[in-house]
Every structure is written in structure tokens, then in C-alpha cells.
Amino acid sequence: MSLPIRESPISKPVSLFVTCIVDIIYPDTGMSVVEVLEHLGIEVDFPMAQTCCGQPAFNSGYRDEAKSVAKQFLKAFEGAQIIVTPSGSCAALIRHDYPTLFADEPDWEVKAKRAAAITWEFSEYLVDGLGVTDLGARLSEKRTIALHDACHGLRLLKLKSQARALLSKVENAELTDLTECDMCCGFGGLFAIKMADVSGAMLERKVGFIEASSAQDIITGDASCLMQMNGGLTRQKSTKRVRHLADILAEGLKK
């Protein structure tokens, strides 16, 4: 499945969709995204009316509730030229499901299709959209890092090479492997609580590989996966942590 060629976002201002999890739990990650984009001279705005993309409802089978929240998103981002979000799963929902979600409401369908056409996940925006891989970032000391490929971004948006390309250009960042890096961490949205035992078992396997990896930090592109994995790592009293790609890039830009 090849992705359609998209309108170039070069020279366009970015409206940031920070996502609900980043908004209330990891706002620093949102700030990191802003810092990276502004470092590249991108004009960033933040539509204050945004809340959530509606994924929890959509993924649980509640289409009407998903639509009501998606409408809030579409209203908030009316007039945006480019939407960037630090979440592969949210970007995938907007790109893949918003248009069909509103198939029976033509006015909203137009807005949904527009949003789908202009929404980018953070790493693909930088690499595929802007053609940038070298941010001139440098970590203050050598660190070994590995990537966890968040599922929705990997499989629906084909994200894999972008984060690696960006990190390979970060001075002092040494990339190493994480076994089963493309195997789900067990979050899956409300799956994590509805099917808690299965989610816990999947997490147990993931934490085991994180511990076994020589990487000090695991980097991922989705804060929800991060929440799941860090929740397991702290519970196991591990010293390892999972960090968002935006955070390590922003760290590398600090003077």
C-alpha cells in the first residue's frame, strides 16, 4: 500500500495538534515539538480549542461519540494549512478514518478530507515533508539509544526510516537494536484496561527486551506507547526509560 503523494508543507505555518495525552500528561513533549519546529524557522500556532482526535471512542466502537469529538477537532483546526502531531496513531485516525467517519455528512466530510490531506506525524513532517534529517543536534554525552516502532505509525503511515534518519544525525547518539522493536507494547488504547491481563503480558515481554537491550533510552513516536512502557518499567523498578523522539531532539538542540 503506497501512500498518496501529498502537498508539500514547505513554507507553510504549522498548526500543532498536541494530542490529549501530551496535553495533560506530557506537556514537555509538546514544548519539545515547538522548539524543534521553531529551530527550523517554522511558524507554529496552537489552536486553543483543540481537545482530542476521538480515537478512544472510535477504537471502542462508539462512532457517534467519536464523531462528536472529531467535530471539535475539525472546528479547532478550521483554517489550518498544515497540522503536525507527535502521534502516529492520532495522525493515522485523522488520515485514514476521518473521511469515512463523515461519509454521511457531506459538509463535515469536506472538512475531514481537508484535515486528512494536511495532517502529518512529527517525524514524517520533518523528513518527508521538509526534507530535513540533520537538525544540528548534539547530546552533551554519548548515549546508546534504540527505537520502538509504534504500531499505528509503522503499519498505517509506514513510519520507520524517518526517526532513524533523524537520530542518526544527532551527535553522540548511538543507535542500537531493540529485539521485537516492531512488536506491540500492549497499549492499544482502552484495550490496556479492558483486556488488562493480555496487555500486561504483552508489556511484560516488551519490558524484558528493553531491559535486555544495550540501549539506555528507548525512543518512540507515540506518547501512549511511552505511557504503557514507562508504567511497566517503573513498576519493575527498571532504570531504563522510554522517551519521545521530540524530547531527545529538543534536548540535542539546547545550547
Binding site: 498536541v18 490529549c20 496535553d23 495533560i24 500528561i25 506530557y26 506537556p27 514537555d28 509538546g30 514544548m31 496552537f46 486553543m48 480549542a49 483543540q50 481537545t51 482530542c52 476521538g54 471512542a57 472510535f58 477504537n59 471502542s60 466502537g61 462508539y62 462512532r63 461519540e65 462528536s68 469529538v69 467535530k71 471539535q72 504500531c151 499505528h152 509503522l154 503499519r155 498505517l156 512488536m183 506491540c184 497499549f187 492499544g188 488504547g189 484495550f191 490496556a192 484496561i193 479492558k194 483486556m195 488488562a196 491481563d197 493480555v198 496487555s199 500486561g200 503480558a201 504483552m202 508489556l203 511484560e204 515481554r205 504503557q228 514507562n230 508504567g231 511497566g232 517503573t234 513498576r235
Partner: protein, 467 residues
């Protein structure tokens, strides 16, 4: 087979604690996935993806013409000397097999592995009619001996350890204890050889029926498939109506992508094409061949948005890559099919009300779709089935109410902000003791702290220059 799928959550809670079973399942599925990747993509990524597309289209073209191809297959099978029967459901299919046994005075059946036969409960139906049934696929024989059920579409005892099989053989047959798998297989070979030579009916399923020639195709490794369809005088095949492919060429693609996707083999040991009973000039082979075309819910699926699931070739690739299946094994799904294909087929074949948790037994990671040799969009089907579960009111009130409340809090920035404040304050009080249904989180992991200031607040302050 009686369906226990509504108990998935309880069954999976027990299953994930069975470390021995999980270890066996992870080992078996991991091996198979590694082999699949090596063989499907041996000529490169683009070629492998091209093969998946080719197989996907071949199956969909056949499904588009299904009624026509079924008639063509019937006509060609009949011309080949096969007796073609039709069965709307399990009862009719089982009745056909019993009638055939009665007609020919058959007392003992040897059987090739068939998932459809599990669906329809064929063994039980025959045994009630006084016909002895012996499974001959090694894994299915072990399942039969231990009163178990298969847990994977092609590796029925992927959940069992070698040690447990040794113990079974020792207990049942007084086998001299051994941990040598080759010795155990040799033991089984000898035991089952006697059964092959004494049966009067052979029962199989069917991997494909080639419509243009009326050919029943079986894909096996052990030799039991050939023995069951060659030694007894009567061979009966139960085949789902969706197993029809149109041409030799489509079959050539699919039989090879099936094996690559399932076990990594380029071809299984025996790729068998059955054109009918023995010809007048042939010295062996059955004298009667029956093919029973079984519906059992497939024509209902055909009329829905889920029709593409009928493309399934039962290779098991989706089970092998599914992190949920690898954590629970197949039995937790409560019916014949587990893993991603099971989560979709079970509600569709047995009714949504009988399997409402199954569409939720997935983190929607998408690995299944990527592995499927006929590119079935299982994740999309799971999402649509969840919509169906909710519409049927089967997801549970706590979720219906919870999602409504959540949606309310996300429809406006004001309520969202208030919700955030409430959550922050609430966390100070309850800490890690989350209320139901959220308590499942803290069973296995810590819940993060809500940030003192939301991103919204920090942005607002930043703009004002006060951050």
C-alpha cells in the same frame, strides 16, 4: 464445537499466567514467522508484496464470481466422477457424512486435519452414529487422545510441550519414556499405520477446489493426507464454499503463498491434486469420492461488508504474528479459531452476541494484515465489529456510559480543561488506586502523574510572556 468466546477476558486472565504454554506458543509462532519472512520475501520486499497482492486479487475475483464458480466446480467434479453434495449448515453436513457411511456400511474413519470439521463438530456426530473416527495428523491425534481442542489453524498442539506429549504416550500406550522427538514420531507412525490399514472411510477437508478442472487440493506434510485419501474405498471431503479458486494459475500462486506464509516452506511435502475416484485402469485409490460443499454461515458473511474474510486460506500467519495470540494461546478465544482470524470469524459465524469480547481482543497493531497472504484487512474488520458490538448493546454499560461522559468532556475546550483539573486533583487523593474500569491499568503498571500545567496553559503563558 460449543462456543465459550464470551468468557475471553476470564480465560485470557488464566492463560497469561500459564508460562509453560506461553513459552511453547511464543517459540512455535516465532519460528514460523521468521521462516515466513525469509521465504515470502526471498526475492525482495517488492516481489513479496506483489505476491500478496496477486493472491489477494485471485481470491477476490473468485469470490466475486462465487455462485458461478461453485456451479462450474460442481459440474467439473461430477464429470470427474466425484459425487457433489451441498450442506447449508453443520447438521446437514454431518448428516451427509453419516448417510454416506451408512450407505456403504462404513464403520471406521481415518481423518486428515480439517478446521471446518471442527466447526461443524463432525467427529462427535459420527461417533454418536457408532462410527469410529481416528485423527491421523499427529497433532490432531494427540488432541483427540487428550480430549483437547486444536489451538492454532495449522499447528494444533503449538500450546503443548514435548514433555506433555511424552507423558500422554506413556500413559495411554505404555510407550518407553523418551525425550527424543524422533522416537516419539516413530512410535506414533507405528500406532497410526495400523489405523490407516484398517479404516474403510477417509475424511478430509480441502485447501482449494480448482473450478476450471474440478480438482480438490490438499496441502500436507506428514503423509496422512495421502493415506486417508488413497487407502480407504470411500473418501469424503468437507469443504467450505469459499475455498473455490478459478484457475490453475491462481491455485499455483495461492498454494505456494499459503505454505510460505504458514510454515515458510516453498511447498509442503505433499501438494495433492485429487481429480476423483480411481480410474478403471488404476490399481489403488478410493472407489468413491464425495465432496460436500458446506456453507455454515459463509453465505451470510458474503452479503456483508466483511466478505473479504472469506479469502482466508487458513495459513495461520496472522496467529503467528499476533501479540495477543502469543500471550494467550488459542484456547482463550473459546472456539475453533483463535488469533486475529478467530476474533473476526467467531462473531461472524456464531453470532456477535456469542463472541462480543473477541473484536476487542486486539491492540489493533496491524501485524496480522501485514502478514496475511491474501491481504485481509483484519484490523478494519475488528473496528467495524466493535461498532457492531456497541450497536447490539453488548459492550457493557460501564463503557457505554463512560465513553459518553468522556465524549462530553472532549467536545469543548472548557469541559476538557475542567476535566484535566479534576483529574489532577483527583490523582492527589486516589494516587494509584484508579476506579473501575480504569483499575486494570494499575494491576500491571504505574499510572503517570498528570502534569501540574497542561500544554494549553503553558502555551497561553508563553504567548503572554509569562512562562
Amino acid at each position: 464445537m460449543q462456543n465459550q468466546s464470551n468468557n475471553f477476558i476470564a480465560l485470557s486472565e488464566v492463560a497469561v499466567q500459564d508460562k509453560t504454554m506461553r513459552s511453547a506458543v511464543v517459540f512455535g509462532t516465532g519460528n514460523a514467522s521468521t521462516r515466513r519472512l525469509a521465504s515470502m520475501y526471498a526475492a525482495g520486499e517488492a516481489h513479496g508484496e506483489g505476491l500478496r497482492q496477486q493472491g489477494a486479487e485471485a481470491k477476490r475475483r473468485a469470490l466475486r464470481k462465487l455462485p458461478e464458480l461453485l456451479e462450474l466446480a460442481e459440474s467439473n467434479l461430477t464429470a470427474n466422477g466425484v459425487t457433489v453434495l451441498w450442506a447449508s449448515d453443520a447438521a446437514e453436513a454431518n448428516a451427509h457424512v453419516r448417510d454416506i457411511a451408512k450407505k456403504h456400511g462404513l464403520k471406521k474413519a481415518i481423518k486428515v486435519k480439517s478446521m471446518l470439521s471442527e466447526e461443524i463438530g463432525l467427529n462427535g456426530a459420527l461417533e454418536s452414529a457408532g462410527i469410529e473416527v481416528v485423527e491421523t495428523d499427529l497433532g490432531e491425534w494427540i488432541v483427540q487422545l487428550s480430549g483437547d481442542h486444536p489451538s492454532h489453524v495449522i499447528a494444533p498442539i503449538i500450546h503443548k510441550t514435548k514433555a506433555s506429549i511424552r507423558d500422554l504416550f506413556v500413559e495411554r500406550f505404555g510407550m518407553t519414556p523418551t525425550d527424543d522427538a524422533a522416537e516419539m514420531v516413530a512410535f506414533a507412525r507405528e500406532k497410526l499405520r495400523a489405523e490407516f490399514l484398517s479404516a474403510d472411510m477417509g475424511i478430509s477437508g480441502g485447501n482449494f477446489i480448482i473450478a476450471e478442472s474440478g480438482t480438490l487440493c490438499l496441502v500436507t506434510n506428514e503423509g496422512n493426507g495421502r493415506l486417508c485419501t488413497s487407502l480407504p474405498d470411500v473418501h469424503v471431503a468437507v469443504v467450505g464454499i469459499e475455498k473455490i479458486v478459478e484457475t490453475f494459475e491462481d491455485y499455483a500462486t495461492l498454494t505456494q503463498t499459503l505454505t510460505r506464509s504458514g510454515t515458510g516452506q516453498l511447498l509442503t511435502v505433499y501438494t495433492q491434486m485429487i481429480n476423483g475416484p480411481r480410474r478403471p485402469n488404476e490399481m489403488d485409490g478410493p472407489r468413491q469420492v464425495y465432496v460436500i460443499l458446506v456453507d455454515n454461515g459463509r453465505s451470510d458473511i458474503y452479503a456483508t461488508e466483511y466478505a473479504a474474510v472469506l479469502a482466508c486460506v487458513r495459513c495461520g500467519a496472522c496467529q503467528n504474528v499476533c501479540p495477543v495470540y502469543r500471550s494467550t494461546g488459542g484456547h482463550a478465544y473459546g472456539w475453533v479459531y483463535g488469533g486475529p482470524i478467530g476474533a473476526v470469524l467467531t462473531p461472524l459465524l456464531t453470532g456477535i452476541e456469542n463472541a462480543s469480547p473477541l473484536p476487542y481482543a486486539s491492540s489493533l497493531c496491524g501485524a496480522c494484515k501485514a502478514a496475511c497472504p491474501v491481504d485481509i484487512d483484519l484490523p478494519k474488520m475488528l473496528l467495524d465489529l466493535r461498532r457492531d458490538v456497541v450497536e447490539h448493546g453488548k459492550n457493557g454499560r460501564i463503557w457505554d456510559v463512560g465513553i459518553k461522559v468522556w465524549a462530553l468532556g472532549n467536545r469543548s475546550q472548557t469541559l476538557f480543561k475542567l476535566g484535566g483539573i479534576a483529574a489532577r486533583l483527583g490523582q492527589k487523593v486516589i494516587g494509584q488506586r484508579l476506579p473501575e474500569p480504569l483499575a486494570g491499568w494499575t494491576k500491571y503498571r504505574d499510572f503517570p502523574e498528570f502534569a501540574p500545567k497542561s500544554f494549553h496553559q503553558r502555551w497561553a503563558e508563553r504567548k503572554k510572556g509569562t512562562s
